[in-house]
Every structure is written in structure tokens, then in C-alpha cells.
């Protein structure tokens, strides 16, 4: 895997907290690999190790064949990094930010300014090119941050939650850029807590939880892992929810804990092998049990279902934490 990213048994400790407990991870060359997990799962720590910002306490990793611990300078010359928080300079203009990164990345003065002008155009920032960043919106900053990471066209790109906190339109714009980069053969490692984002952008997904990779595969493979289909039922009278759950569990020979039941909403989710056949059976048995059905359908499991079944908790429950300020971040590593 010459141009890709390989991590073996990565371990990282912060004081008594074991942030990474032996992470194995492969991002093939020219593909988008998603690192999916809730806040605090270890995504950012893994990215910081792979981008040489943090030393691992155990294990090894290579980026484009270069070892992150013994050849960090070479790793830095083939990567671009866009973090969760736009790392751009408030007091400089958009153009100055890009030129600074280009020149620090060993580009000539002329090449830097030509490249900056191109990227500013690509990211629809030409009009704002010579304004200081204090006047930029959040979405504009994020786009500039990504542009900065692309200045010397690095073959490997790390995107650490690139769309966290962005409005839907800016998110879609960034997705387009990432898709375009992928088509041009850039190796991309993308962390996200948005299942939809991983589903849409990543060729393969590694699910990380509490410092460990707990599943990997394509979005479809992961969905298949959960089971075939999901029956999604809403009862007409919420008082019937428990009865409906019991009836369906019996019908399909499942334990009640295999079902996802929400008493407040009156919903029951049942994993089944073949949705259409199960639907008929389910309607018949619910009718026999005297349960009035409000809404009933069959769907493919979403990555949310995958996540729930793999980790036992939903992906975004800690999202508010990601908005917290991070004073000691370089020490803690996020």
C-alpha cells in the first residue's frame, strides 16, 4: 500500500486515560476511508498521531510508506491536514493565509500566489480573497482551511470532522470538493460523527469506539452486518407499544432486547432477514393480538442502526462536547 495509510496496534495514553487501545487501521491509496465514531472515541487522537502532531505510546504507523515516528518530516511533506477548527489566521487575508502555507510548504513565491488564486476560485472565495478573515463566515473559513491543506497538492489528506458545526449548504459544498479530490486520486482519511457523511463520502468505513476499531467495511457491508432489513412500526395507541413489541418478538423468535422500542413515541424497530415476507407475517400476528397499527414500513438499516447495534449507544449523543472550547488541546490531543 505505497500511497496509503497503515496503522498497527496504535496505543496512546493521556495520564490514566487510555485513549487508543491498539488501533489497526488501513486507508488504501486513492480511496476515501471514513473513521466513524462518537466524540471521545479516539478519532482525533488517531489523526493527530498519523499527522505527526502526537507521539504514540505503542504500535506503528506509516503514511505513504513513511514512518510517522522515525520519519515525521517526510510524512509532513506528503500530507494535508484540515482539523475540526479552522486553522487559519484571523488577521491575514484569505490570499495571505494560502501563500504563507504554500511558501512554508516549499513552493516558490510565484507558484504560491498562482496556486492561491486558483484555489480561491475553486472554493468561491475570489471576491473575499483580500479581506482579513475576521470578516469571513464559518463556512468560508472552513473552505479556506481546506484550501490551505491543498496548497502543495499533498497526495494524502486528513480531514478531521471537516463539516462539524457547518450549516447544511456549506456542508454540501465541502462534500462536493471532497468527492472531486477523491476522483483525482487523493488518499483521504475522513473522521466524522455524522453517519450520513461517512455513508456519502467514504469507500470504506472503520467504526471506532472507546479507543478501538469495532467494525470495518463498506457502508453496505456494515449495514448487512446488522441484519437484512428493519421493520419500522408505529402503533396507533402508545399504550399498545409493549404488547406490540412482545408479539413481534414472539413472531420472529427474537429476544425482546433485540428490538429497539421507544415507549414515548410508540415505535418498535425489528431486525429481520427479508422485509417483505416479514411484513405480512407481522401484520397478521399484530392483528391477532389486537394491536392497531399506525404506521408500518420496511427499510434498509441506516448507519445509525449499525452504530447503535455495534456500540450500544447512538453516534451523536455527545455532540455538544465538540463545541466546547479546548484550551489545553495540544497537550490533551483531543
Amino acid at each position: 500500500m505505497p500511497g496509503g495509510v497503515v496503522a498497527e496496534e496504535l496505543v496512546k495514553r493521556f495520564g490514566s486515560l487510555l485513549a487508543l487501545k491498539g488501533v489497526d487501521f488501513v486507508a488504501p491509496e486513492g480511496r476515501v476511508t471514513g473513521l466513524l465514531g462518537p466524540n471521545g472515541a479516539g478519532k482525533t487522537t488517531a489523526i493527530r498521531i498519523l499527522t505527526t502532531l502526537l507521539q504514540p505510546d505503542g504500535g506503528r504507523a506509516t503514511v505513504a510508506g513513511y514512518d510517522v515516528v522515525t520519519e515525521p518530516q517526510l510524512v509532513r511533506s506528503v500530507i494535508g491536514l484540515t482539523g475540526q477548527y479552522a486553522a487559519v489566521d484571523e488577521d491575514l487575508t484569505g490570499r495571505e493565509n494560502l501563500v504563507l502555507v504554500g511558501r512554508l510548504g516549499r513552493m516558490s513565491k510565484r507558484a504560491s500566489s498562482e496556486r492561491a488564486a486558483t484555489l480561491l476560485g475553486v472554493f468561491s472565495l475570489s471576491d473575499a480573497a483580500d479581506r482579513v478573515l475576521r470578516t469571513y463566515s464559518g463556512g468560508m473559513r472552513r473552505r479556506l482551511d481546506l484550501a490551505a491543506s491543498l496548497m502543495f497538492a499533498p497526495p494524502v489528506l486528513f480531514l478531521d470532522e471537516p463539516t462539524t458545526g457547518l450549516d447544511p449548504r456549506s456542508r454540501l459544498e465541502l462534500w462536493d470538493v471532497i468527492t472531486e479530490l477523491k476522483h483525482r486520486g487523493t488518499t483521504i482519511v475522513l473522521t466524522t460523527q455524522y453517519l450520513e457523511e461517512a455513508d456519502r463520502l467514504a469507500d470504506t468505513i472503520s467504526v471506532i469506539d472507546t479507543g478501538r476499531i469495532i467494525a470495518e467495511g463498506t457502508a453496505d457491508e456494515l449495514k448487512t452486518k446488522v441484519g437484512g432489513d428493519v421493520l419500522d412500526l408505529t402503533v396507533a395507541d402508545r399504550a399498545d407499544t409493549a404488547l406490540a413489541a412482545r408479539t413481534l418478538a414472539q413472531t420472529f423468535g427474537l429476544a425482546e432486547r433485540d428490538l429497539s422500542v421507544d415507549l414515548d413515541l410508540g415505535t418498535v424497530l425489528v431486525p429481520v432477514t427479508v422485509g417483505s415476507a416479514a411484513l405480512v407475517e407481522a401484520v397478521r400476528s399484530l392483528d391477532a393480538a389486537g394491536v392497531h397499527v399506525g404506521d408500518f414500513g420496511v427499510r434498509r438499516p441506516s448507519l445509525d442502526d449499525v452504530f447503535l447495534s455495534l456500540t450500544g449507544h447512538i453516534a451523536e449523543e455527545n455532540r455538544s462536547e465538540s463545541a466546547a472550547p479546548r484550551g489545553r488541546r495540544p497537550v490533551m490531543g483531543g
Binding site: 502532531l53 518530516q73 517526510l74 482539523g83 502555507v101 512554508l104 475553486v122
Partner: protein, 280 residues
């Protein structure tokens, strides 16, 4: 969507990663240039680093001079070198705030993920801040001359005083950088650096000769690094004779203390700051 990435220059990773001395210097210059550009764009910083010291100069030279007396010397001539040292001290604390700000905004991560010299970030910061201190001290010396402060020991000694001011400020930027890297939050840094600095200023020879300070404070004042900087600056501004009359110390003694302190502060805090930076 137009093209995102036709490679602009074909450079091998090895070439991009190489760090010949010329490149290290170029990196330092780029980062220092970026820092200076920030200073120029930041009106609050300019006010803080020139208007505020000017006010202090006027306060000490006129208000305090009306009540304070130093035998055989105008209080204005006595206090101006001290106000200048104090200004350098406060200004040097801006280094830590700037670094903490870069950490918080992710700029440190950006720099550390680029194939630049590891030393460029800290050395670039020291370079730009020394330049800032130099310009600031010239402005203040000019202002001091305008309000009636006089050098008594000739031009070379006066130039020497400016050098001492900037050198002292540079040494303190190392301390400030270490605090900035350790704390990582600009506002906390601002508070944290003043905890040791303010008491050191008030227990120095800044505003009164050491012999006129309370008895218990005198031994502290004598070994205080700020006293060594102020006495050296005073000796260069006023002459050895005058320095001895008000401080009972000779210029060469003060200069010797100052050099010793300078080496200790620079060595200890540069080592601590570099370690902190590398730890990441």
C-alpha cells in the same frame, strides 16, 4: 466545480522535507513576517504596546516626580530607565499570549503539520517579538527625550541602554513562551505571567533606590533580576558615578548580574519551552 489539484510544482517528498540552513532561515522569516503583520493589523495591540507605556512614562515623570525625591538627581532621570525596563517586561508577556492564541486557533497544529523546521515557530516568534521590542523602545526613548529625560553618559552608552532593554525583553519572551505553551489559553496566560512579574517589579530598584525600600525587601531587591536590568540600564543612561550614588552599586557589577541572569533565564525557559513544544 473547477479543478482542485493539478500539482503546481513537481517536488519529491525528500526535497520537500529537506532542511538546508537557507530554508530554516526562510521559514523563520516567513513566520516572523506573519507575526509582525498581525501586530500591524491589530490596533488593540498597537495601543497596548505604545500608548499605554507612554501614559506610564508621563505618569511617573510628572506625577510621581512631584512627590518622590532621589538625592542628587531628578526623579525623571532616575525613573525613566526603570519605566522602559518595565515596558519591555510587560511587552515580552505578549509573546505567551500570541503563542497561546496560535494554539487555540489551531495555527500551531497547522505549522507543526507542515514540512518546516521544528525550531521555526519559536525562533520566528522570538525574532518578530525582538523587533517589536526594539521599535517600541526607540519610540519610548524618543518620547522620554521629548518630556525632558536626558542621557548623561554619551551616545554609545545610550545605545547600550537600548540594547540592554531589548536583550532583557528577549530573555523574558522565553519565559512568556513557556507559560503560553503550558497554559494554552490567551486570557489565562495574561493572568498567569503577571503573578511572578508584578511582585518582581515592585521589589526591585525601579521606583526607589534599594536602600530606601523596607528592610525585609532589600535582600530580595538586590538579587532580583529586574533590579540587575534596571541598574544596568540606569548606569548606561546616567553614568557609573550617578548609579553608584543612588544605588551603591557599580555599572560593571550590575552588568555582571544582568549577564548572569540573562543566561539563566534564556537557558532555563528556552529549554522548558522547546520541551513543551516538542511534546505537542
Amino acid at each position: 466545480m473547477v479543478t482542485v489539484s493539478p500539482p503546481v510544482d513537481v517536488v519529491t517528498p525528500e526535497a520537500r522535507a529537506a532542511l538546508p540552513p537557507r530554508r530554516v532561515l526562510a521559514d523563520i522569516a516567513l513566520i516572523a513576517g506573519r507575526n509582525l503583520r498581525k501586530v500591524v493589523r491589530n490596533s488593540r495591540l498597537i495601543v497596548f504596546s505604545t500608548i499605554q507605556p507612554l501614559m506610564q512614562l508621563i505618569l511617573f515623570a510628572y506625577v510621581f516626580a512631584a512627590v518622590a525625591r532621589v538625592p542628587g538627581l531628578s526623579y525623571k532621570d532616575f525613573v525613566v530607565p526603570a519605566v522602559l525596563v518595565q515596558t519591555m517586561t510587560f511587552s515580552a508577556m505578549g509573546t505567551g499570549v500570541g503563542i497561546a492564541n496560535d494554539m487555540q486557533t489551531g495555527m500551531v497544529d497547522r505549522f507543526r503539520s507542515l514540512p518546516i523546521a521544528r525550531s521555526a515557530f519559536l525562533v520566528g516568534r522570538t525574532t518578530s517579538d525582538s523587533l517589536r521590542l526594539g521599535i517600541q523602545s526607540m519610540i519610548l526613548v524618543a518620547a522620554a527625550l521629548l518630556i525632558g529625560f536626558r542621557f548623561h553618559a554619551g551616545l554609545p552608552a545610550a545605545a547600550g541602554m537600548v540594547v540592554v532593554l531589548v536583550l532583557f525583553g528577549m530573555a523574558l519572551t522565553a519565559f512568556s513562551a513557556w507559560v503560553g505553551l503550558s497554559v494554552g489559553d490567551p486570557e489565562t496566560v495574561q493572568a498567569a505571567v503577571f503573578i511572578p512579574i508584578l511582585p518582581l517589579i515592585f521589589t526591585s530598584s525601579a521606583f526607589a533606590p534599594v536602600s530606601r525600600l523596607p528592610g525585609w525587601m532589600q535582600p530580595i531587591a538586590r538579587v532580583n533580576p529586574i533590579t540587575s536590568a534596571i541598574d544596568t540600564a540606569r548606569g548606561l543612561a546616567l553614568g557609573d558615578g550617578t548609579l553608584y550614588r543612588v544605588s551603591h552599586t557599580h555599572l560593571h557589577t550590575a552588568a555582571w548580574h544582568f549577564s548572569l541572569w540573562w543566561i539563566v533565564i534564556v537557558a532555563v525557559f528556552t529549554a522548558l519551552a522547546v520541551r513543551r513544544y516538542r511534546m505537542g
